[in-house]
């Protein structure tokens, strides 16, 4: 925990650290500020009216002759306490309510949806009151005590969190992880609160930093128009209000200093929220595992098998090394070399975590921003893919170098129909009329064994099964009869018949169009029957490459033997 805090802090830019320190100062001032004031914070001193900033009064005095610095030191106790308590109440009431409403809605049973609908409409009633005027009326009716101001602010902000959490939960509730959590027998409520709500936290946090700021501003705003904290109490809004009339005629200090203080307070809360968001981000954790979790067990022994480069290779990879961006991280891929000729098909096998998908992304030039290619070469024919400019690379993709990536369902754009994705992929490289695009998409879908392709074109990814999504991706990859096809688990989620159909199709493509294929698979059967070569990966290295027949007859590397034995048993 402390480790994570300190490592998060170390990654922050300097200015954020400055504002974090300011945030801490504000917290301290909220606690003891009034005791630090050098002058009285409420007693008027008519002889010292509107003194400009001077040695005695660093920030000058206001129209009552009270030292502005003293009042500023005392003010956070009023503004910050009101805002933080009010926001805490809104989050604690709003988030659970949002989850409950979303779950009731997603149940789609008569009674539940009616309750949910009534709750939403009531919420609208509360939100329909203009926030500021509503708070003003509440405070005017019940009196401007701190408790009433807190209640009013909490009340007007709660619906924001209800709506936000509801809309987040509604979109998360159909995600695979939530379905999985339900499938293993968790109750709906448990899934909602334990599995889905935590996923909504980043959004809530972004909103939280906005809302605390808004609550402070609301407190100050109410006091600014005289409907909040009343003047003798040191409070920023009322200080700005009393200074405003002097600001316009040029005496700026009574309004500007409280204004700056108010801005800095809200800003510091914003920075704090921002840092919290960064701290909660799962990405930071993931890269931490990359850094430490990967141990290279293999020594630098040369790759066993055939390593001589293919002449006229379609794809040639030489000494490829990929590392996470953090300093000191150990490589995810190192010394990877192989080549692939026209019509040649190579399987890449190895257990999960061996670096197969990283290799695929590196070859395609699609590594996430946190990973980089350290050294090595990736060549497509004569073209150096790693140093190719973006537009040239784009013109090669799909048309010459096609790919299917693992987990097809989440690869498809969630708001685009299958037909829309086909149309976009076609439009990326040529001008096609809509009916022509439709005709070709239907033909391609039929090729990969999709029944009723006309209807599938209208389907959104969330309406497809994993196998159907997989076939859509394969159809997209075959669209231009590419010279190089890189397929990450192309047959995952397909039943045996369709699997054969797809693999036969890929074989035909290799034979007829001379497409070189790099097939990542965990199924050694596919490697044995459909590939010319097999490469075994372990811990980021290719430890053995050989002709399929030779490999299966006599694997050389002990790990390869182990891998084969595990299947034969």
């Amino acid at each position: 925990m402390w480790l994570r805090i300190s490592s998060t802090l170390r990654q922050l830019p300097l200015w954020q650290l400055v504002f974090l320190a300011l945030f801490a100062l504000i917290v301290v001032l909220t606690a003891i500020g009034p005791d630090l004031a050098p002058y009285s914070t409420i007693n008027a001193c008519p002889s010292d009216r509107l003194v400009p900033p001077s040695a005695a009064h660093w920030l000058g005095t206001d129209d009552n002759g009270i030292d502005i610095l003293s009042r500023l030191l005392a003010a956070p106790r009023t503004d910050v306490v009101i805002a933080v308590i009010a926001t805490a109440i809104s989050v604690l009431l709003g988030s659970p309510l949002g989850v409950v409403i979303a779950l009731l809605e997603s149940r789609r049973r008569g009674g539940s949806t009616v309750v949910a609908e009534i709750a939403m409409r009531l919420l609208e009633v509360i939100q329909a009151f203009p926030v500021f005027v509503f708070a003003m009326v509440l405070v005017a009716v019940f009196g401007g005590t701190k408790v009433n101001i807190i209640a009013a602010i909490a009340f007007v902000n709660t619906p924001v969190f209800v709506r936000l959490v509801r809309s987040d939960v509604l979109s998360l509730v159909q995600r695979p992880f939530a379905e999985a959590a339900r499938a293993v027998g968790n109750s709906e409520w448990r899934v909602g609160f334990r599995h889905i709500l935590p996923n909504a936290i980043p959004t809530i946090l972004v909103q939280l930093s906005v809302t605390i700021g808004f609550a402070i501003l609301l407190t100050a705003g109410l006091s600014f128009v005289g409907a909040g904290v009343k003047p003798p109490t040191p409070e920023l809004g009322s200080m700005i209000a009393s200074g405003a009339k002097f600001l316009i005629i040029g005496q700026w200090w009574p309004a500007v200093f409280p204004g700056i203080a108010l801005g800095l307070i809200v800003f510091s809360f914003g920075v704090f929220g921002e840092v919290m968001t960064k701290f909660m981000e799962p990405r930071a954790i993931r890269s931490a595992t990359w850094r430490t979790g990967m141990t290279t067990e293999t020594d630098d022994a040369p790759v066993i098998g055939i390593v001589a480069p293919t002449t006229n290779a379609i794809l040639a990879v030489r000494d490829l090394e990929v590392t996470p961006l953090q300093p000191g991280a150990s490589p995810l891929l190192s010394g990877v070399s192989f080549s692939l000729g026209a019509g040649e098909r190579m399987a890449i096998v190895g257990e999960s975590g061996a670096g197969k998908s990283v290799l695929v992304k590196a070859v395609l030039g699609l590594l996430p921003a946190q990973l980089q290619v350290n050294s090595g070469q990736v060549r497509y024919g004569e073209v150096d893919l790693l140093n190719l400019d973006k537009s040239k690379l784009r013109s090669l993709r799909s048309k010459h170098i096609a790919a299917t990536l693992a987990n097809a369902k989440s690869q498809l754009h969630p708001l685009t129909t299958v037909g829309g994705t086909f149309a976009a992929a076609l439009a990326a490289h040529q001008k096609v009329s809509a009916p022509e695009a439709r005709r070709r998409s239907i033909e391609l879908l039929r090729m990969v064994g999709m029944n009723d392709p006309e209807r599938r074109l209208e389907a959104y990814p969330h309406e497809l099964s994993g196998g159907m999504a997989q076939r859509v991706c394969i159809a997209l990859a075959l669209m231009y009869r590419p010279r190089l096809l890189i397929a990450d688990e192309p047959t995952a989620g397909l039943d045996v018949t369709v699997q054969r159909q797809v693999l036969d199709l890929m074989e035909k493509l290799a034979r007829e169009a001379g497409t070189a294929q790099l097939i990542v698979t965990s199924d050694l059967g596919i490697a044995a029957h459909y590939c010319d070569k097999v490469a075994v990966m372990q811990a980021g290295r290719v430890i053995e490459i050989n002709e399929t027949r030779a490999f299966f007859d006599a694997p050389v590397h002990p790990y390869s033997r182990q891998l084969l034995d595990s299947v034969r048993l």
């Binding site: 609208e124 009633v125 979109s171 969630p414 992929a425």
Partner: protein
């Protein structure tokens, strides 16, 4: 055989689509039906709250020196002696017949006042939103993009500062500072003197918006004067209330650009613009919800900004009414705001619904 299947399939498809299309009007119809009890509830809550405001309106109206009998008589005339539900019933009857009552602090007809002031406020809100959409939305999309172009990088830093600053700057303070800089010191823009200069004559009333009315009248000097007077208030509102939209859109864009479908889109060789558009479509969902909230905040934030700039719109009207315990204007203002807000929410939900096929209409048979 296969063509027959095609025909059958497309027939099924058409029927499914028709069912979808029919569901939407039913949904809108139901939402509008809900609007009626909602507005009634809101008006009743406001009515009750307003009557709890400290101060006796009859005494307010006649002054502290008026005899007790006169005050009592006026109270009876205003039905203040009746119970709140009874008073509410009377108010409702009047309102439904188009009589919004009289402001007793100003002695004016509230219906007339609303007609004068609503356009002012709507003009401010509309122009501010326009600025948000023209300036901030494209900025959010561009600065979230993956491009490592130095211009984008610089823009990203500047706008990041904006996102933080705008959330921290109170609208009324920004308004005061703008006046201090551009009026008091530089004298470039008109001061807080209202919608037009003292020497300008307002164009004949048509829509209530000075810009539109001046255009209709062909009075360009008034048009420009009105436009200059709008610069600071609109800038203030757009700057402060555009920030949540900007922040939400950018953070959602970053998430979308980091998603697997973006990587896959690149693998398909889609143009950078297409990839950005695909991400923006996903990001737009949450952003639309925030835009709805912001419109509502604009109606509230407008209250302070109108007061500072003396725009004599609806917001300033409401503040004056609350301070003087003026029942009828508060009541009318809140009801207008409520209906306005709920129509905005309905629009937001419909847009959200139209944009995301994963969201099913609540309570619809599936």
């Amino acid at each position: 055989m296969s063509t027959q299947l095609d025909v059958a399939a497309s027939r099924v498809l058409r029927r499914v689509r028709l069912a979808h299309a029919l569901r939407l009007p039913r949904y809108i119809g139901r939402r509008i039906l809900f609007l009626v009890p909602q507005v009634l509830l809101i008006s009743f809550i406001t009515f009750a709250l307003v009557r709890l405001l400290p101060g006796d309106p009859a005494r307010f109206q006649l002054g502290p020196l008026a005899p007790e009998e006169a005050v009592e008589a006026l109270r009876r005339k205003l039905h203040l002696d009746l119970s709140i539900p009874q008073q509410y019933a009377i108010w409702l009857k009047h309102t439904l017949s188009g009589d919004f009552g009289t402001s007793w602090s100003q002695g004016t007809d509230v219906g007339e006042d609303l007609l004068q002031r609503i356009p002012v406020t709507l003009e401010l809100i509309f122009l501010s939103l326009l600025v948000v959409f023209i300036v901030l939305v494209p900025l959010a999309i561009v600065t979230a993009s993956l491009s490592r172009n130095w211009a984008v990088w610089a823009l990203r830093n500047v706008t990041f500062g904006y996102g933080m600053l705008a959330g921290a700057l109170p609208d009324f303070l920004l308004a005061l500072l703008l006046i201090f800089i551009f009026y008091t010191n530089l004298n470039l823009l008109p001061g807080p003197e209202g919608r037009l200069g003292i020497l300008d004559t307002a164009p004949p009333f048509v829509t209530g918006s000075i810009l539109i009315d001046a255009t209709i009248a062909g009075d360009w000097s008034t048009f420009w004067s009105g436009a200059w007077h709008l610069v600071m208030p609109v800038f203030t509102l757009a700057f402060v209330y555009g920030a949540p939209v900007f922040k939400m859109l950018r953070s959602q864009m970053e998430i979308a650009l980091d998603a697997e479908y973006t990587t896959y889109g690149e693998a398909l060789g889609l143009a950078p613009r297409t990839i950005l558009a695909r991400a923006a479509r996903v990001a737009a969902g949450s952003t639309v919800v925030i835009v709805g909230t912001v419109i509502m905040f604009l109606l509230g934030g407008d209250v302070l900004v109108e007061s500072v700039f003396n725009m004599s719109g609806l917001g300033q009207y409401a503040v004056q009414a609350i301070v003087t315990a003026d029942y009828a204007p508060i009541q009318a203002f809140v009801c207008f705001a409520a209906i306005f807000t709920m129509l905005v929410y309905l629009a937001v939900d419909l847009v959200h619904f139209a944009m995301d096929p994963r969201i099913k209409v609540v309570g619809s048979p599936t």
